[in-house]
Symmetry: C2
Subunit: 178 residues, 2 copies
């Protein structure tokens, strides 16, 4: 139940991937306030671990933060697609890998005050080769490290993407690698 009473809402920006709306509200103290909310496609993030306990990571220039990042496999959920189906699709497209065993680890909200874009977290095991297929504009470098090293990369700050960090630490604390 929202403590804010909505007075009016307007869309201030929209692309196929992003919508920004501005809500005028009455706050609980009776004053008027304005909230801007960024709506983006929900996403899925996958920690894919092979039989040798090696995890697939992706090195990619991320435009939002303006630098090359190391992350788990992740991407947006298309309309009509489940979070798990998006995770399966992104894993095959980005790393060229399919998986037989899937574990759900809940979701993360990147920035609850401003952004509506939940990201669903998965561990994938039982890996086998699939068919890698990238968008023409994507420059993605998949590679593997030991799972324990991926945990250290989060703790050291070499991985900062929130959903990747959470997926790796939750997988670690769930004991997926013993």
């Amino acid at each position: 139940m929202s403590p804010y009473k909505l007075l009016s809402t307007r869309e201030v920006y929209r692309t196929p991937w992003l919508r920004v709306r501005e809500d005028r509200v009455t706050a609980p103290d009776g004053s008027d306030a304005t909230f801007s909310v960024v709506e983006s496609k929900p996403g899925s993030t996958v920690v894919a671990i092979d039989a040798a306990q090696r995890v697939w990571l992706i090195r990619e220039y991320k435009y939002g933060v303006g630098r090359e990042c190391i992350e788990a496999v992740s991407g947006g959920i298309e309309p009509g697609e489940s979070a798990l189906d998006a995770a399966r699709r992104e894993l095959e497209e980005e790393a060229g890998v399919v998986a037989s065993d899937w574990l759900e680890l809940g979701h993360v909200d990147p920035f609850t005050a401003v952004v509506a874009s939940p990201n669903y977290l998965f561990v994938a095991r039982g890996l086998a080769p699939g068919r890698r297929q990238l968008d023409a504009t994507e420059v993605i470098h998949p590679f593997q490290v030991n799972f324990a090293e991926a945990v250290d990369m989060v703790l050291r700050g070499d991985i900062t993407h929130s959903a990747s960090c959470l997926a790796i630490l939750k997988a670690h604390l769930a004991g997926v690698c013993g």
Copy 2:
């Protein structure tokens, strides 16, 4: 080094808290592409733990996700303010607590593809009463739980705010509560 060549940029939306820009670029394959980037104030998040290993959490309606959330203490960094100073200020304003011992745990990027808004993570120990002081439009309920319970709340999905989740799990794996 960006693999994208910037052709033009324009601001499509701005408030005191948020700026959205649209960049036209040439992608590495030679095609034209458009990226929208949401710039928001950087933030700080604090896991404040008292001598009895109890951590301060905040229950608050978060407008972006449209529901009441449980989170660590967090807030935006004001211009000219350091991440640590913002953490100190937010801890006193929201929980009414000051702290003598501070540990930095790096930062998290909420959504690297779209959002530029790093969030800096801290553990605060050596707590003492301060002076609670809220904005008129804030409805914030601070409370305490055992640190081990806060970790379980992240693993169960009761806490989903990315910076709060990371700060709590990083603090746990750093062994701050033994």
